[in-house]
Symmetry: C2
């Protein structure tokens, strides 16, 4: 199969994805270039294109592997308020781990498929328990997701806890309180 002269084994999509994700974690999305990635993998840049359609497809794929790493908590017995809070915290943790990639997703929504798997499977039952009627759950989920996403972006921008990370935690908590307070219809 004409394996690379410099490397022993042939490339695998997994190897490409993980190293690309590592590059993004280290230097942001703008630090990921096909040439640099190829250099790290010790391969000619064009060899990547035998395993990846193009750069945007690659980013989309590593976005999905990142989303797959979202640690989803759900304690079915607990009240919906607590579960919603846990979910918001899990979301926050993930954004803090991959801030740059997350910003990319926010401006390129097409990279992530719609409303299936991951967060949504956890969020919908929570909304059901909170008394949101079924026909409103999709949009409510969208609104809540928008709120939390905007909140985390704001935090990433340095506001809410400019100096003190403990204060950021507190502000995040009270913001979640606000959401929980606002969710039930009067």
């Amino acid at each position: 199969m004409a394996v690379s002269a410099r490397r022993g084994a042939p490339l695998t999509p997994e190897e490409i994805h993980s190293t690309a994700l590592r590059l993004v974690e280290e230097g942001g999305v703008e630090a990921l270039s096909m040439r640099k990635l190829a250099a790290v993998l010790d391969v000619n840049p064009m060899s990547l294109y035998h395993h990846v359609a193009n750069k945007t497809a690659l980013i989309s794929q590593i976005c999905q592997t990142m989303a797959g790493r979202l640690a989803l908590p759900d304690k079915p017995g607990s009240p919906w308020q607590e579960r919603l809070r846990d979910l918001a915290h899990a979301y926050r943790r993930m954004v803090h781990r991959y801030p740059s990639l997350w910003a990319y997703i926010h401006t390129h929504p097409e990279t992530v498929a719609d409303h299936q798997g991951g967060i949504w499977d956890v969020l919908f039952p929570i909304l059901a328990d909170a008394g949101v009627p079924e026909e409103e759950r999709t949009t409510t989920a969208d609104v809540l997701h928008g709120f939390v996403a905007g909140l985390v972006v704001t935090e990433r921008q340095g506001h809410l806890g400019r100096d003190d990370p403990a204060q950021a935690d507190r502000v995040y908590e009270t913001a979640i309180d606000m959401i929980i307070r606002g969710l039930p219809r009067p």
Copy 2:
């Protein structure tokens, strides 16, 4: 002064900013390049650098001119709920007008100075009327801004009103309701 051979008059920063903003409105931030801008202005690319420090400075400047175009409503007599709603709508209108530039700001917060002028001067009195104690107003403003920004981004991504723009209006309205409901402490 050795005016351009091809143009009659010398370049002005205003001309550069407005044409750059036009390019961004038409094709997004990624469609703005110094070379294209120079071509539109019928000038050598390097001539731009006598009026603009570099590309990011240029973008930062057109961000500010955009922010200056935010139509800020404020009816001091009305209740804070109504004024908050008006502000959220003004924000939404602006994001819809310059979606790409807005996304850029969200991922490059350094482009816009902090907490002075524009929105904040209007938002702070509203929060005061809503009974938010002074020492919490900054973070509360940040949280609310995060909420609304995330909401609009979500809308821009096609959710909340996928098909029907009227439905998007309705959902936005109820989301603002939710914020207003959640703002006062219990």
